[in-house]
Every structure is written in C-alpha cells, then in structure tokens.
C-alpha cells in the first residue's frame, strides 16, 4: 500500500513539475520574443557614407557604402535592390596579371562580428545596371540592402564625384 501511495505521490510530483515548466515557459515567452536574433542584429548593423557615381541613363553606375557591424554575431549581405536601374547586383573588382583588371558577381558578402566592410571603388561595390535615368551629382536615391539576420535596410545615397584614389 505504501508503495502505491509512493507511486501516486511521484505521479503528482511529476504533474507539478510539468505545470511549473509550462508556467515558466509562458512567463518567459515575451522575453524570448524580444530577444529574437533578427531584432537584435537589426540594431547592430548600420550603413554609413552611402554614395552613387554619376552616370547617364541606360549606362551602368555603382553604389558604395560602409557596413558597420557592432554586434557580436556575424551577418551576411545577401542582395541589394532599387528602382534606379533595371538590374542590381553585388560585384567585386579584382586584379589579374600585368595591370589587367576584371569584375565578377558576388552572391553574398560576409559581414564579420565587430567589423566594418567597405564597398568602395576598385573593390566590392553594388552595380546599378541599366540606369532608368541620368544620375547627376547632388541627387539622392533610396536603395535597399538585404541582410541574412538584420533583414532589410533602407539606405539614402547621394550622387557625387569620386574621391581621389591613393
């Protein structure tokens, strides 16, 4: 009989534990929601010094900027979008032998934690292919960057002449 009581007590104890666990989970749910990685990352990726090179309608231009990741986790730039050109692609310029320079598409760009990745002339850049209009110095355009964790970032870029290269 004692054994039976003990089993019943054990069952009650297990039930209580289950109830306690569920209550804890329900209570912690809002905290968990607020600490989703996406939200956390969004506040840690910032874009600065965004600019576009002047170019004529139907021609190509490039969009440059710096991605600052102040977070402790890495992120990835997946794509760029905008209605300034027919196609938007991430590209990089690379050096070949004997002063030969080439360019190729890059499908994503890793943004390490606590780092700044520069999209700059002669290196990584976002290609604006087939401009829908003339892009003149002083004008401003909105472009969108899509990050794996930080999500969508809307960026305002100013059209300006190039700085001198060192």
């Amino acid at each position: 009989m004692d054994n039976v009581k003990c089993i019943i007590n054990m069952k009650d104890d297990t039930k209580m534990k289950k109830v306690f666990l569920w209550l804890t989970a329900i209570l912690l749910l809002p905290i968990n929601l607020f600490s989703q990685p996406t939200t956390n990352h969004q506040s840690l990726i910032t874009i600065r010094d965004a600019w576009i090179r002047p170019a004529a309608a139907n021609a190509n231009s490039a969009f440059f900027f710096e991605v600052v990741n102040n977070g402790s986790a890495a992120d990835t730039l997946l794509s760029a979008n905008g209605d300034l050109s027919e196609i938007v692609e991430i590209h990089e310029t690379y050096k070949r032998e004997s002063d030969m320079m080439g360019m190729r598409e890059v499908h994503n760009v890793p943004i390490p934690a606590k780092s700044t990745v520069k999209f700059k002339p002669g290196a990584l850049h976002v290609m604006l292919i087939g401009l829908t209009k003339d892009v003149r110095p002083g004008e401003q355009y909105d472009l969108i960057l899509q990050f794996k964790n930080a999500g969508t970032k809307k960026v305002k870029a100013v059209v300006r002449d190039m700085p001198r290269m060192k």
């Binding site: 004529a56 002063d99 080439g102 360019m103 190729r104 002669g122 850049h125 290269m165």
Partner: protein
C-alpha cells in the same frame, strides 16, 4: 669655364630625362582613322602632333575601373591647368566601339562635367580599334555579362588599366596604372618632356 659646366649640366639633365622616360613605342608612322565624340573623323596621332598626350582606355559600361581612370585624367587636367602648363592634350579611347558610339561617349563626358576644351573621346570601326589597341599594348577581353529581362545582353571587359604619356613626336614614353596613378608623378613627367 662656368658656361661649359652649365652646358655639361644641361646635357646631363637631358640625358637623365631620356633615360628616365625611355621610348616604349614609336607611333610616328601610325595612322588610325577614328571618330571623336562629336562624330568628326580624326587621324591619330596626327591630330595631336606637336603636343604631349595623356591617354586612357575605357568602355562606358565599366562601373568601376574606367570611371576611376577617367576621374584621374580629370585630376591631371586640373593640375596641368593650375600649373599653367600648355600644349597638353587628353585623349580617352574606347575599346568597346560596338557599344560606345560618339553619342554614348559624349554623354559619358557630359554627365561627369568634363572639360572637353583639350580632351577628346575617340571610338571607331572595330578592326581599327583592335589594331590600335595592339599597337598601344592594351589588352581587353570580354569577361562577365548581364542579361536583361528582354534578352538584351551587356558584357564587361577584363582589361589593361592604363594611362599613357605620349611625347610631342608621337612616342609612348611611360605607362601608369590608370585607376591608382600618382597625379604628381605624371605632372612631373609632363614637365620633363616640355
């Protein structure tokens, strides 16, 4: 005696300059029938004979290296003007003549507000352009391409990134990396060939 030393010194300086800027290619006998940004026919190097020429090589669909090189041409032009150096012509020639018509070149220059008072953009028939590039030591090969929704295709060249300095006799005297050229260096070279 002082005069003799002065003459010897000048002679040495001239010799040193020649050594510093040896002839890379002689274009004196070359004759390329080309077209400028206004659709005028020009013969190179005849149309710039007697002038120092700063030249670069571009294709207007190039989003990165060619605009950098062209921007450096602008910086050199501004510096030459500031230093009051006369008799220098600037020439940009496209190695993509099928895309880069005179009108496209004019627009390329116009959108950048380039000073075309002593700067000419050139294009021409493809065989002439190909022959020109071989003579000037420029390599341009089609690499990546992009296809638009309507099927149009544009392509990008892997190409020599170069600005050249040509003397008054039509001889190539120095090659520089177009996108990263040191403006002070080429301006000093221009002065040495004046």
């Amino acid at each position: 005696m002082k005069k003799l030393l002065l003459i010897l010194n000048l002679g040495f300086l001239l010799y040193a300059c020649k050594e510093k800027l040896p002839v890379i290619e002689d274009l004196e006998r070359a004759k390329f029938k080309l077209v400028d940004q206004y659709n005028n026919e020009v013969t190179f190097p005849e149309f710039v004979k007697g002038k120092l020429v700063v030249m670069n090589y571009i294709f207007t669909n190039c989003p990165d290296i060619c605009p950098l090189s062209t921007n450096n041409m602008r910086l050199i032009q501004e510096r030459i003007k500031k230093d009051k150096i006369n008799g220098v012509e600037f020439v940009s020639i496209s190695f993509d003549p099928l895309q880069d018509s005179p009108q496209v070149l004019r627009k390329f220059a116009g959108i950048r507000n380039l000073d075309l008072s002593n700067w000419t953009f050139l294009t021409g028939e493809k065989p002439v352009i190909d022959s020109f590039m071989r003579k000037m030591g420029i390599v341009a090969v089609i690499g990546d391409s992009t296809v638009f929704k309507d099927g149009r295709k544009i392509y990008y060249y892997t190409h020599t990134d170069r600005i050249q300095l040509i003397d008054k006799e039509g001889k190539i005297r120095k090659n520089y990396k177009g996108s990263t050229i040191d403006v002070s260096e080429i301006v000093a070279d221009v002065k040495s060939l004046q």
